[in-house]
């Protein structure tokens, strides 16, 4: 039977080390809502989402209460809207209307974000894809809870450089459209290479077309728990370090597995995956950067950071994979800047640059995340940053992403406040040399040689 010390350990993780379930995300297919009539399409989308997820928040709260584990967010992801709206939408405004419907249903159900205002254009764009992409600035400035993502490349298809160029402009335009709120719209917009179909985390969550009608995906979080566990093994060898991370990741993930199974049973929706990512928040003690420091770095960004992050990411997966029956999503360590106090400290100390962050993304999940850059950064430079990150994902057969915020009216040295889980960020300098001729070439970068596996 369970003993006093085990109970105390679990409750200490929850109460003192910020162990929580970051999100229960219900994926909902909207493919059966497709209609050529825009009004009917909007109605069908609202109805399908409302009927599917009306009990999501209540169920999450019940589970949270019964097991004594905080479940921070309840969210929804839907089929990429470019696919759903293609038949009905003739203008960017038509697409933005769908975003407003998503926003309304998210508000009525009580979820804090709804993801899937998305297009998958890794090889080419249909007219609907392009229209949706061009509507993103309008959609994100007119809604509160809608998140948008665009998949620009994959290992199998290469990188769609036309879309990369366009997204540089769209990110700038989204920043302009939301400049009254420190360009907050860009915090809800992410571009991917190798985007997963079952990611529960925002802003990149969407319900892939390979998924079932409805599915429950869960994301756990526990950087604080890993950090505290590592405090006990200071100065020990890498073997001990790695074993400790694995054991801790196992325990954290088991909680996610339990919550996912419970939510799945109570909502009568199949269980999809648990995402093993270590997701930080701006709260003190809930930082991935602090784990890197505990491993032995003065600040995240110091020499050795990439190696430390690589081992952390790998051990988290090794520990977590046995704890869950299905693992998916992004699964690794997130390194957002504004959402992690240790990362913010590292930037402010001058230890962490955009270039080092790019190197770190080679060995961990996701990529350049929640990074504020000067508002006068050229669209072509943003496209260049995106292309670099997409190339890392394409060649290394992993997911990479860019969620970057050109803060209109602000420059290097200033800070920007997003609030809540999105945190705050010092504005980081961008290499000012031009890549315009490169970005303007047009076309796509072919898939790498190792993608031909058949």
């Amino acid at each position: 039977m369970i003993n006093l010390y085990e109970v105390a350990e679990t409750n200490r993780m929850i109460e003192e080390e910020n162990l929580d379930v970051r999100t229960i995300t219900m994926g909902i297919s909207l493919l059966d809502c497709i209609d050529a009539d825009l009004k009917r399409l909007n109605e069908k989308i609202y109805q399908k989402i409302y009927e599917s997820a009306k009990d999501l928040v209540k169920t999450g709260e019940e589970i949270s209460r019964e097991f004594g584990i905080p479940i921070v967010n309840k969210r929804i992801s839907v089929t990429p809207i470019a696919l759903v709206g293609g038949a009905a939408c003739r203008t960017a405004e038509d697409f933005a209307g769908l975003a407003r419907t998503l926003d309304k249903v998210a508000h009525d159900i009580g979820v804090n974000f709804i993801g899937g205002y998305s297009a998958l254009v890794s090889k080419g764009m249909t007219p609907a894809d392009e229209l949706l992409i061009r509507s993103i600035p309008l959609a994100l400035s007119a809604t509160e809870r809608v998140c948008s993502s665009v998949n620009l490349g994959s290992t199998r298809t290469g990188i769609n450089m036309d879309a990369v160029k366009l997204m540089g402009e769209i990110i700038k335009s989204t920043a302009e459209h939301t400049k009254e709120n420190d360009s907050l719209g860009c915090a809800k917009l992410v571009v991917f290479c190798n985007a997963p179909d079952d990611n529960p985390f925002m802003a990149g969550a969407f319900h892939g077309v390979t998924e079932a009608d409805k599915i429950i995906n869960v994301g756990v979080s526990g950087p604080g728990v890993v950090k505290t566990a590592l405090e006990q093994v200071r100065g020990e060898s890498f073997e001990t370090l790695c074993e400790t991370i694995k054991k801790t990741a196992f325990k954290v993930t088991r909680v996610g597995q339990l919550v996912a199974q419970e939510a799945s049973a109570r909502l009568r929706v199949p269980f999809g995956i648990v995402d093993l990512s270590l997701a930080p928040t701006p709260a003190i003690g809930d930082s991935v950067a602090d784990i890197l420091c505990e491993i032995g770095l003065e600040y995240a960004g110091a020499p050795g950071t990439t190696a430390a992050l690589a081992l952390l990411n790998d051990q988290v997966k090794k520990g977590g994979v046995m704890a869950s029956s299905y693992v998916g999503g992004l699964s690794g360590a997130f390194i957002p800047v504004s959402e992690d106090q240790g990362m913010i400290n590292a930037v402010q100390a001058g230890a962490l640059t955009l270039e080092k962050l790019e190197a770190m993304t080679c060995v961990c999940s996701v990529g350049l995340d929640m990074i504020a850059i000067p508002g006068d950064t050229k669209a072509s430079s943003i496209s260049g940053i995106i292309a670099d990150e997409m190339a890392i994902g394409m060649v290394n057969q992993k997911t990479t992403a860019v969620r970057i915020i050109p803060v209109i009216g602000k420059g290097v040295g200033e800070t920007v406040e997003f609030g809540g889980l999105l945190g705050y960020a010092p504005i980081m300098p961008v290499n000012s040399f031009s890549c315009e001729a490169f970005v303007n070439r047009g076309g796509r970068i072919p898939a790498p040689i190792h993608s031909f596996k058949n």
Partner: protein, 94 residues
């Protein structure tokens, strides 16, 4: 028999005082909740108790019992938490 049980872990933490166990046990008895196991220590004057109980015989909602135990804790001056056993089982047993 085991399958029909609704095992719940009740933890009580706080400054030691007279009547903590009595207060909690009375509440449990009044609500038809059977105690399966109790372990308790005092560390530096702090009372630390864990009970494994079976709520199968209790007709009340889990959330109500949890709230009332929290209130009872506030009266006695301790923190009482009530959690289903699975979270501990999952985390500490393969």
């Amino acid at each position: 028999m085991e399958k029909d049980m609704k095992k719940t872990i009740i933890t009580v933490v706080g400054k030691d005082t007279v009547g903590i166990i009595a207060g909690v046990c009375t509440y449990l008895a009044d609500n038809g909740i059977n105690i399966l196991d109790i372990s308790q220590t005092i560390v530096q004057g702090y009372f630390n108790m864990m009970m494994i109980v079976d709520m199968a015989g209790c007709s009340r909602q889990f959330g109500d019992v949890s709230d009332e135990l929290t209130e009872l804790g506030e009266e006695i001056g301790v923190v009482i938490k009530c959690q289903k056993e699975e979270i501990f089982d999952k985390m500490h047993r393969i």
